[in-house]
Amino acid sequence: MSAPPKEGNPVRTFVDEVWGSIFRHGLPTTDKVAARTALTNFFLHIHPVRVKKSAIRVSYTLCLGGLSFFLFILLTITGLFLMFYYIPSVDQAYQNIKDLQFVATFGLVIRNMHRWAAHGMVITVWLHMARVFYQGAYKPPRQFNWAIGTLLLLTTLLLSFSGYLLPWDQLAVWAITVGTNMAKYAPLAGPYTRYLLLGGRQVAQGALIRFYVLHVIALPLIGFLLMVVHFWRTRKDGFTGGL
């Protein structure tokens, strides 16, 4: 808690006021102040104020959920940068990707970060799910969060699939051709699903813009909302932990 402002120093008073309105507490000197600091700060309160020692053992969660979240943040930031150069048009997309690689300063780094983080996120989400499964951490009262988790896995896979089309190279076009034809084999809804995904019957401009919108807006937003619920529930249900 900031000290009462010194008389007769308006600048100091102003600075203290602004500082005090952002950071409601002074440096956490005691456990109690530390707990209150965490509780009153939006970003800090995502992490619990108090955790069991057993639950923060790295060998317990292997940090897989956290790593997935970290990669998601990384993908959001690098994805945002890619969007400055990328135009979802069949005439331009491939050239944009080449420009990113060979013209834009550090474009190659950004693109590779996005690509490798995408592969990484698919892997960490799978492993996270496997960890939860093998520890039986999906059992009551955490069934709901397991269900949210499966949706998060699905969202991750869909993000990875939709991003794959965007470079509009041979790999992209034929992977989406194959993928959407698989969807077509689903009973009854199959052909409609394919038409809906592609916005037509061919992998063409209509498909590219659809996948782009899904990739940069719809799916990240869905993923974000699911994560909010997911993290909230982890906090409420507590850790399964070597009790």
Partner: protein, 223 residues
């Protein structure tokens, strides 16, 4: 959470069979909003199904003429240039000339839809005997080795009559209609399938665009 009208001072004196104004409004409101949500969802779904698409037209004209492909027709009604195959990869069609005439194969792999490439040695390494392959198509011209198509995606292979013989493809590729326009170029209509075969059906289609008359013989299969 619905308000229990029996808790209101006025409600207390009513019997259960009656509907209070609040209940009535609640019911009407629920019905109206449910209706709006259903109607809205249907409209959103319809919006997401494009009423018109930017798909390429089904019909297209070739960049080569009848005479360029066949080299002219000899007395017995065969192409002077012999058996040939001309692939138009961008439009996903191969035009094949054999002794009986001309046909067009729609290059959509029946596995998962990639474009198979024309290859002159389609049986190589597949364990299929050349004799078996030769029986699928009459290769009398320059191409003595069995030719056909191989898919780059998962390796399906097709004989020259488009029958699948290797890899995951479940059935032969379709044949589509080809005709000669007045200006002597070909018109291929990918919307008009002239030979459609189910899995396991290895019948060789008899449909041909006849060289002598420049008209097709009408012998469609499975359509």
């Amino acid at each position: 959470m619905a308000i229990n009208p029996y808790d209101t001072p006025r409600g207390k004196f009513r019997t259960r069979a009656e509907t209070t104004r609040r209940q009535f409004l609640l019911l009407m409101g629920t019905l109206a909003s449910t209706g709006a949500v259903i109607f809205g969802s249907v409209e959103v779904l319809k919006f997401m199904f494009p009423a018109a698409t930017g798909d390429a037209p089904q019909q297209f004209k070739t960049t080569f003429t009848f005479d360029e492909l066949t080299g002219g027709v000899d007395g017995s009604g065969k192409a002077k240039a012999g058996a040939t195959v001309r692939s138009i990869t961008a439009d996903r069609v191969s035009v094949v000339v054999d002794d009986a005439g001309i046909y067009a194969v729609y290059l959509i792999c029946t596995h998962l839809g990639c474009t198979p490439n024309y290859v002159p040695n389609v049986t190589s390494g597949s364990g299929v005997l050349d004799a078996v392959a030769a029986a699928r198509g009459d290769r009398t011209g320059s191409e003595q080795i069995p030719n056909g198509w191989a898919c780059p995606c998962h390796g399906s292979r097709y004989f020259i009559d488009s029958t699948n013989f290797y890899g995951p493809a479940p059935r032969p590729m379709d044949w589509v209609s080809i005709s000669v326009a007045p200006d002597n170029f070909f018109v291929v209509d990918r919307g008009n399938i002239v030979a459609y075969r189910q899995p396991g059906d290895n019948t060789a289609p008899q449909w041909r665009l006849l060289l002598k008359t420049k008209k097709d013989n009408g012998k469609t299969l499975g359509v």
